[in-house]
């Protein structure tokens, strides 16, 4: 294991950068909250960012030869969500169960 100062340095650098990336935008945007640009971005961004997050996590689950398994599980998740009253926990549970089942099939 590397020397403790290296580890402390890494942890400090990671903490400061992560915190700054999360905090600085609030300070910058707060005075602009009423601007048309900020309001437009606040309205447009969430759906697209959620789609990107869904796509990226799908891609990582589908890697290592699990594309078909992930596609089936994603379809089950969406189907349960749309037909069973949009209960997130139920939809996520059903999709995850299907994926775990398919991946661990002998």
């Amino acid at each position: 294991m590397a020397d403790p100062w290296y580890v402390v340095g890494v942890l400090a650098v990671v903490l400061v950068i992560t915190l700054a990336l999360r905090a600085v935008p609030f300070a910058v945007l707060e005075p602009l909250a009423e601007s048309r640009f900020v309001r437009a971005m606040a309205a447009w961004m969430p759906a697209g960012i959620l789609l990107v997050l869904a796509a990226v996590t799908f891609r990582s689950s589908a890697s290592a030869g699990h594309l078909l398994h992930a596609a089936v599980a994603a379809a089950v998740t969406a189907a349960v969500h749309l037909t069973c009253g949009r209960r997130t926990l139920l939809s996520v549970g059903a999709g995850t169960l299907v994926f775990v089942g398919l991946v661990n099939l002998p």
């Binding site: 580890v7 992560t18 990336l21 990107v52 661990n104």
Partner: protein
């Protein structure tokens, strides 16, 4: 119990409940992270230490390998900047305004992970300070707890159940479906789909960041074009 206490309890309960679906994915991913820390030859306490310093799953998984290889701190700083840069966009709609206490605000910003943003992005209204913080603290408990479980498992069991991390993908699918209920969201979804496809082809190793930058760039363009047209 005073009415104030009762409503606080109800808000905390609502926050914990809002955290459960994401927790289903975060906890097993935390276990995988803990296993990785031990397998990479790092001391066990690096799992909770990284989860407190970074509190960002994908970055932590990457850091394990970088630290084990004794990568220079400057390189690690650059990797952190690139991998976590997407968080700068979350301030556009995260309901931080409901949190009043300075310390609570600081924690809420510190714990603004993808999952916290995602939950509030779909339901932008109705958040209170207690509900939001209870959800974020729950997330960190799942993540740190998962990491510690992974560290313990690494020395005991053959391995955790494969595939549980799909819960995060399932969560983001349901949240996308919830966010996309009106036709007004169609342009954003199309632009995001396009951005992701381009990112996977052009920047396969940094697809998440590239997709978000392309998507936000497209939205800025959309705003400017809309304004030019009046």
């Amino acid at each position: 119990m005073t009415p104030e206490h009762a409503s606080r309890r109800a808000e905390i309960a609502a926050g914990v409940q809002a955290s459960l679906a994401a927790g289903l994915g975060m906890y097993p991913l935390g276990v995988a992270f803990g296993l990785l820390v031990v397998q990479a030859g790092l001391p066990w306490w690096m799992a909770p230490a990284l989860s407190l310093a970074a509190f960002a799953g994908s970055l932590e998984l990457l850091l394990v390998g970088l630290i084990a290889a004794a990568t220079p701190v400057a390189t690690i700083a650059l990797a952190t900047l690139v991998v976590n840069f997407r968080h700068v966009f979350y301030a556009f709609s995260f309901p931080l305004r409901v949190v009043r206490h300075p310390l609570a605000r600081a924690y809420s910003v510190y714990a603004l992970i993808d999952e916290a943003y995602a939950m509030t992005a779909v339901r932008p209204h109705g958040w209170t300070s207690w509900r939001l913080l209870a959800m974020q603290v729950s997330f960190q408990v799942y993540w740190v707890g998962g990491g510690l479980t992974g560290v313990a498992l690494a020395t005991a069991l053959p391995g955790p159940i494969e595939g549980l991390e799909f819960a995060l993908c399932a969560l983001f699918i349901t949240l996308t479906l919830d966010a996309a209920r009106t036709r007004a969201q169609v342009p954003s979804l199309l632009l995001a789909g396009l951005a992701f496809s381009l990112a996977v082809v052009a920047f396969p190793d940094t697809a998440l960041l590239a997709a978000m930058l392309l998507f936000v760039g497209a939205l800025v363009l959309r705003f400017l074009l809309g304004r030019a047209r009046g």
